[in-house]
Symmetry: C2
Subunit: 343 residues, 2 copies
DNA sequence: ACGCATTTTGCAAGCGTGTGCAAAAGTTTC
DNA sequence: GAAACTTTTGCACACGCTTGCAAAATGCGT
């Protein structure tokens, strides 16, 4: 209390030990779950710690133990609804597991994912979860070699070592075609960005394949990023001509919403009477009554759960190297006709 | 190369020193900007570091230096558009400043903000930025005493010690009233949540005060959280009766959008012909053409800039304890009549 | 070639923690 | 009460880094 004015800023385990009249080991063990301390000294240490405002220095602890408790989330454009929701869920669950999350923004910064992974190494992160971008193989190896776990969510699949979480994009695309077909649509369109992420391309390929299998033609538009405005541009691209499509599968909800707004307001098209629309992600806005977009839902909970599974004990994980989840179709009002599930 | 199979996972400065034939101090200094190393040894060290895959251990460095380089962002409901955007901007700018951001989610977790700040202490964070919730005073003091900087964004103002960043909520509310008046509105409504954050209440108070000053009456609705659905409920609340308001100021864009959707679809109200709407935040969705919401823009850049200013050198900051920014009105299409700026 | 000023370098003492090991204390058993 | 255990405790070293200090190396002027 007296040293308040010019006290050394942090109180160490030493100070606590002195105050409690025990050895420093005792206080260390008090804060180490499962260590051997008598109930009495633990009490004494706890009291002193409380009185002095002691907190274990996780930096020092991380130096000794192999684990720092830090998990890095590597993500760009994190204010995108889907990404934001995933980040929120991940941090929440990581905290519950006693981890702490370090957020690395790879927007358009120098080095991007690679420098992010380097930072990951500097802070001795226990694991990195990548929601965006693709890491250089050499750096990935470096991370793995230093005992780090790596999780790739919806990323490229040909890197070995990391744990992969993917979606049944192909299957979803197939279901989209079936839904359109059942609604009586015959002239299909696919709206993609120019990004070319594997999962995005899988949806496109799957859609084309499924349509071809049924003898339906598909016209494709690709514009900019997977954002609202690109969806609008796609609408202008696809709806200007004479033979308009009567169904459009957008690679992403944001694009779908932009497409819908433009279709209705710039072209006077009614949805779903004149045009059926399906999106992907099931972001919050898709449920807003101005849109009521039928869309495939990201299985956020499963993705998060799988990520945390991979951070658990090694022995359990030896065999499994990837998990693939189903993205269920959420029926709203942008498809006409009956809304029964499709097998 | 040979030790690949069972190598100790991390390469230390010692290893690099040995490989380069210099002392450990030399490699340390090589990675310390502004330290005294000859150009030649620096080169040698760099080469060895590269070859061995060495990365400074920031945990150990943080142990010696006073600063860990970690800045904590404490936030709940971070997938809200405004929050997500702020987090994105903060992390980006923090990284540019050589800091790293630790994201702490206080959603409905045990302890909330207080335990978040405790974590902050454990990791010896250089600073904490609070976007949500209010910290206990004792813990705040503990953080400050241990040399941590604290930034409160749009939080309560009566805590001394932290740096406060606030908005001209009162002023904005006044401008909203003027805009409504000029558009010919006479029957005003205010839509708030039940959250009761100081800045939210300031908008409400300011709106009432300004309206009263002009002899206009205001009816207020408060529902749940500051989310879309609450806006809908407010609409049902305010638009069901006979004497409907012809202008509504929503404390938040999300509520405004919910209100608009319900007003149009459930009540057949035209905007802005029958009803003028103003929101707050200028989230991306406010600009979507289905809404074109006139709203006050969060000055994100200024907020971020101010936050980083406070993390700078102490000497410059001694005097200033808070900053207040103007939230400019972004004119779109939910107010009828002329769209000139209001003094 | 020499003295002096300046840069570069290595040594060693920390930073705050975890943990193996042996000594001390406590507990049970006969 | 002593012997044989078991639990608790303290010592001391390690983790990987920074940095003050003094010694070594270098540069400069004469």
């Amino acid at each position: 209390m007296l040293g308040d004015l010019l006290s050394k800023s942090f109180v160490s385990a030493n100070d606590v030990a002195q105050h409690a009249g025990v050895s420093r080991s005792a206080v260390s063990r008090t804060f180490t779950p499962g260590a051997s301390v008598s109930e009495e000294t633990r009490k004494r240490v706890m009291n002193s710690a409380q009185a002095l405002g002691y907190h274990v220095n996780q930096l020092a602890r991380g130096l000794m133990r192999s684990e720092s408790g830090i998990v890095c989330l590597i993500v760009s454009e994190m204010d995108t609804p889907y990404r934001a929701r995933l980040v929120r869920a991940l941090t929440h669950e990581l905290q519950k597991a006693g981890k702490v999350s370090m957020l690395i923004n790879t927007d358009r910064s120098d080095g991007g994912v690679d420098s992010a992974l380097r930072q990951t190494l500097s802070y001795r992160a226990d694991a990195s979860i990548l929601l965006s971008g693709l890491p250089d193989k050499a750096i990935t190896k470096l991370c793995l070699d230093s005992g780090q776990r790596i999780v790739l969510i919806n990323r490229d699949d040909d890197i070995s070592g990391p744990f992969h979480i993917n979606l049944e994009d192909h299957q979803a695309a197939k279901i989209a075609v079936s839904a359109f077909l059942r609604a009586g649509c015959r002239s299909l369109a696919f709206v993609n960005s120019e990004v070319g992420t594997p999962s995005l391309m899988a949806r496109e390929k799957g859609f084309h394949a499924a349509a071809a299998g049924l003898g339906l033609s598909v016209v494709t538009a690709r514009h900019g990023n997977t954002v609202y405005e690109s969806g609008r541009r796609a609408a202008h691209d696809l709806l200007t001509g004479l033979n308009r499509p009567d169904a459009v599968f957008c690679v992403n909800d944001l694009m779908a919403l932009g497409f819908m707004d433009s279709a209705r307001q710039d072209f006077g098209i009614r949805i779903p009477e004149d045009l059926c629309v399906i999106g992907f992600d099931d972001i919050e806005q898709a449920g807003w009554s101005s849109y009521a977009l039928t869309t495939f839902a990201q299985p956020i909970d499963q993705i998060v759960q799988a990520s945390l599974f991979w951070l658990g004990d090694v022995k359990d994980n030896q065999n499994v190297k990837s998990m693939t989840f189903n993205a269920p179709l959420v029926w709203r009002k942008t498809i006409r006709g009956n809304h029964q599930p499709i097998s």
